[in-house]
Structure formats: C-alpha cells, structure tokens
Symmetry: C2
Amino acid sequence: MIKAGILGGGQLGRMLLQAAANYPVETFVLENDTECPSAHLCHYFTKGNINSFDDVYNFGKQLDVLTIEIENVNYEALIKLEQEGVKIYPKPSALKIIKNKIAQKQFYKTIEVPTSDFVTTNNRDELTLHKDFLPAVHKIAEGGYDGKGVEILKTELDFEHAFDSAAVLEKMVEIKKELSVIIAINEKGQTAIYNTVDMVVDKQLNLLSYQLSPANIPEKVLWKAEAVALKVVKELNSPGIFAVELFADVNDNIFVNETAPRVHNSGHHSIEACYSSQFDMLWRVMLNYPLGNTEHILPAAIVNLVGEAENMGNAHYEGLEDVLAMDNVFVHIYGKKLTKPGRKMGHITILSKEPQELLHKVNQIKNILKVTAK
Amino acid sequence: MIKAGILGGGQLGRMLLQAAANYPVETFVLENDTECPSAHLCHYFTKGNINSFDDVYNFGKQLDVLTIEIENVNYEALIKLEQEGVKIYPKPSALKIIKNKIAQKQFYKTIEVPTSDFVTTNNRDELTLHKDFLPAVHKIAEGGYDGKGVEILKTELDFEHAFDSAAVLEKMVEIKKELSVIIAINEKGQTAIYNTVDMVVDKQLNLLSYQLSPANIPEKVLWKAEAVALKVVKELNSPGIFAVELFADVNDNIFVNETAPRVHNSGHHSIEACYSSQFDMLWRVMLNYPLGNTEHILPAAIVNLVGEAENMGNAHYEGLEDVLAMDNVFVHIYGKKLTKPGRKMGHITILSKEPQELLHKVNQIKNILKVTAK
C-alpha cells in the first residue's frame, strides 16, 4: 500500500482522512498537538513540529507521497525529501512561491494575471513611503494564516499600529464579489475545475458570511475567473489541488487575491455537493488515479461554524439538535476540544435546487447554531 | 464528549467511523485483529475477543453507548452492561431474538408477519423427519454469517452432507425478488424508513449480483414490504438501525427472510445516494440527535467487490483505475490486506437518474474490477 503523509493535523487533515478510508492507502500525520482533529483518524500519528527540519524530514523519509494542510511548514526538509524521491503535493517549488506573500504577488505579475497594485516593504517604517497607496491591505510576507497577518490601513494614522515585518501593501480594490476557484491538476498536467464559489462577505463585520456554489454571477465573469485561476495553477507547475481566491470589482474585472496550494475551506461543500470532493480529488492525484468528476449533484451553501466572541473553553454546540432536524443539511464538527473566539470549529453544508431555500437555511443556521464554552 | 464503542472492526465499523468524524463523539473499537479495517480510524482501539464476556464487559464499562458490527458477540456481557447503564444499540433483548435463527423465526410467527414455513431441528439426524419440507433452506441456529451456515437441501441425498447443529429448516419459496428495507428507530420510537432495496441475485451463481435502490417494484408490493419491515422493527422494541430482508414471491406475497440489527450491506449506497446515510443515521440514534432524512438525492446501485475465486494473498485491485475514470461512481475499498475467495473487499456505488445507466455501469464494473492476490 502507498504510504501517504499529511503535515498538519487540523480539520483539513481530518476530512482528507475520512476520504482516504475509501482507498488502499496507509496514512501518516505529523502534528504537535496529540489531540488535534486528525490524530485518531490516521494509521500512524507522529508528534512533531511541522516547522522543524528534522521533524519533517524524519517523518517524510518513510513515505511515498506527502501533502500539507497549511503552507507554513519546513520548506528545506521538503526540498531534501523531494530530491530523495518522495512525491510532494504541491511541489516545494510551488509552495515556495505561495508561502511568501511577496513572492506570490510577484509571481502573479510575472505570469501576467490581473492582481491588485502593490508595493513591498521590509518593515513598518517603509510604509510611510507609500501614502499614495492608501487605503490599502497590509499582508505579512510569511506566516499569516486564517486572517492573521492581514490588516487594513485606511489613513496614515494607521501606520503606527501596523505590524513591523516584511510585507505586501496592496491597493484596495472596490470589491463586488469574492470568488474561489478550486482546481486539481495531476502528474500529466490534466486539470479538473470545480464550479466557482461565491464567498459572500458580511460587509458590516468584514467577515465571511457564507459560501455559495455554483456562484450566481454572469457567465463572462465566470469564464474570466476560471481562465485566470487556470493560468495561475498551470504556471505553478505542480500536481496537487489549488484554491485560487479572486475578486470581481464593480466593473466585473477579475483580480487574483491569493492561492492556497491545498484543500480549502471554500471547497468543503464538495463533500456532499460534488461527485468527487476536493478531498477525494487530492487522493486521486496523490495515488495517481484518474481525476474525479467535479460536477455538482445539487447546488450548495456552506456556513462556517466559528467560536463565539468572548467564549473560551470546552466547546459546546448550542442549537446543534435544531440544525440536525433540518432536511438536506450536513453537519461537520471538527472535534476540537477547546473553542476560542473566531476559531473554526465546524461547518454546515446545505444542498438544494432552490437558491431561496439555500439562503433561507443559511440564515436559520446562523441564528440557531453557536459554539460557546461550557 | 460521548464515548461510543463498536464491537467488531470490519468494514461496517470503518464506515461508521468515517461518519463519526462529523460529530462530537469519542470512538472505541473492540476487535481481535489489530490490522482490521477499523483499527486506525477510532480514538481508542482495544485488541480483544467480541465473544469473551470479560473482553466485552471491560471494553463496554468505560462507555456511554455501544453498538455492534456483527450479531455474534457476547450477549451476557451486554446484559450486564445494560444493567449498569450503558446504552446498547440494539438492546440485548432484540439481539437475543435475532442472533439465534430459531428464536428469530419463532418471533416472526409470534408477531404474525409472513415468513416461510419452517421447522426446527436439533441435529442432522432430525432432518430425516422432515422430508416433506424439501426442497428447503437449512440455516444454522447460531453463528452463521455472510452465507456461512446456510445451505440448500434439495433431496434426501443432501441430508448426509448437511451440517449437524441446531437449525431452522425453511420451505423454499419461489422467489421473484429479494428486497431489503432499512429502518432507523430512536429512543422515542420515531422511525425513518429508507427506500426499499432490490437485491438482484444472479440465478446461475445463486449469488448477489448487485443492488438497486429505490427498488423498481409495483407500489402495492413496496407498501407491503415497508409495512412488514416496520412491524418487525417496532416489535423488536429497541432503538437502533435494522435491515429487514424480505422475499417477494411470484404472486407478490411478501415473506420476511431475516433481520440484521445493525448497518447492513444493502444500505451502503446511502452514503452517497441519501441525505442521511445509514451510518450517519445510527450516530444520530446513538447520540440522541433527530433522525436524518432518508430521501434519495439520486437513484443508486451497489456492486460488491469480493475476492476472486482461487485467489488468496495480498489484495490487488485489478481495473480500479478504469472504474475510477467512470463518472458518478464511488469506490469504497475496505483496506483489508488479504483477499480470499468471496471475501468482501469493497463496494462501488453508482448514482444516476437513468436506470439504464445504472445497469450499464453495474455490468461494466463487474467486468472490469477484480480483486486478485498479487
């Protein structure tokens, strides 16, 4: 049996492992937290630091294939493992481009896909050289994750509280839609494109509210989004699965925001909504099987379940029974013991032919279901 | 978190554990084979004998809820665990009726559901008293499983090779259809009925060929099948999930064949074809959540993947890539290292609105995919 490893043991690993149990594959997880969501679902769990060269190298050298759950892993170990014949999804060369936001932006420029204007800065002081860029998005070059390491700078007054690291400063785009296109690409360079996802943002809270797929956008915007995402993925020149996040502005121009070289939150609906889920698809790529069918069985919405503000402690899922009583609703709780404000604790997928039913249930679920501390 | 145990670690446990990862539950498995399909997918694996009082009792006493993967488990330990407050699905009282084929047949008679005529025998010699029953099906009272402990006796000449145990001798029914109705029932006695499954038998090989759901049978037969199955499940008087296997004869009469008090092979399509799979449903029952939606998203067929004749050794899945290249086809390999003739090694689910497409793909898959020994 092929031996396959995952660096990181969070919910993405968990859902990968649920899908892995359909195939003849032996699974390995490296993660520091022995109670992480993936720890009990693999054949072999190794406690270790995904940022440590030794830990990643020693973990990886026993494996045939290796993937990541998070970009922030020891890159040098991956290079050495690749040289020694371990197949890595994504290739370290692609990961290198993506894990540094400066390199990522420069890559988009080099391959000539549209992306918002930007400058790069080495530290906080250099921000003052770019007043003309305001309002702007300030993104830390390395180590940002899940909204951490990203801040909005509106006026010069914001500079003094800005983080002090190498960073990208991006001109704000007037966003009409945030979209995500997930694409799988195999060793032969064949691709499978999932339907575009509309990541609907709550403009008041500036937070993701829910996700809809297929996105309800004009066909020409859809084509542009798919074409741009496909260009990005092909130019990264690595088998694997990629989520390309895009903006559509008020004039229906498309800009690449950023790319994740792995399974992604915006693709979770694919477990129930698509013939081959993003998790199934990554196994197909890694085990060198034919790509799966990305078609939708039914349209879907995803509601993320995050820890309530001011709640920290043992997770309690208020309203879970009421949500489980709703038809055509699929609950995924990630099995994290502790909840924290904003922590991703689960997600809910809703399937329906009727867009109105999707929206109605999204709103119901958002009202009913809360992760609090007991 | 609720602590839930499974007695037995085969593919049913494996699929239960895949579904468990959607819920906040801690999972435990008891099984002698440390390399069984479920061993690596639970939080806590205990090596032990499901027929041993001590092993089952010691395993169970740490748990809140307990279920079974196979009927042949230590019943006395379950009784004691139930007395001490462990919730058991199915209740030992229901399991007791089902695990002994004589008790099961007598139960059907007592509750007045139609079942084929039968007599009970204590040993081989007693068979000769029932020549008038031939041709008959001879079923061992205890410990039969997956076709073992069942034989057809056509003439008196077959008596001398028949097994020599307490048994049921059933008059053969001229079967037109073999059906299965899966029903979940919760603590409150509420029920959820899955669409009837047509278990299509290859008459030449006398083996299950494939399964279709919803079954394509006249509505009045369907209603009879559902009514009889529901009666059986309600009279068993236990929460859990049950598969009631039925025959329809040439006159569209319905007979109960036997009942499994657990998830069942005939319900595997529900993973992809139904909003709530049989595995999801059992967790809902055990965790005391509302029952799920048994409706079909799309019609489905299942092809079982069994070890080829004359092949014994490390399993190899010939043709797997070709099957994975087919659209709307879902592969489930159970992760068993060794194949044996007739051993259940996996199953394939096909979804399609078109009955012709289902049948066409069933035949393709049966031709393409073989489990051989390498």
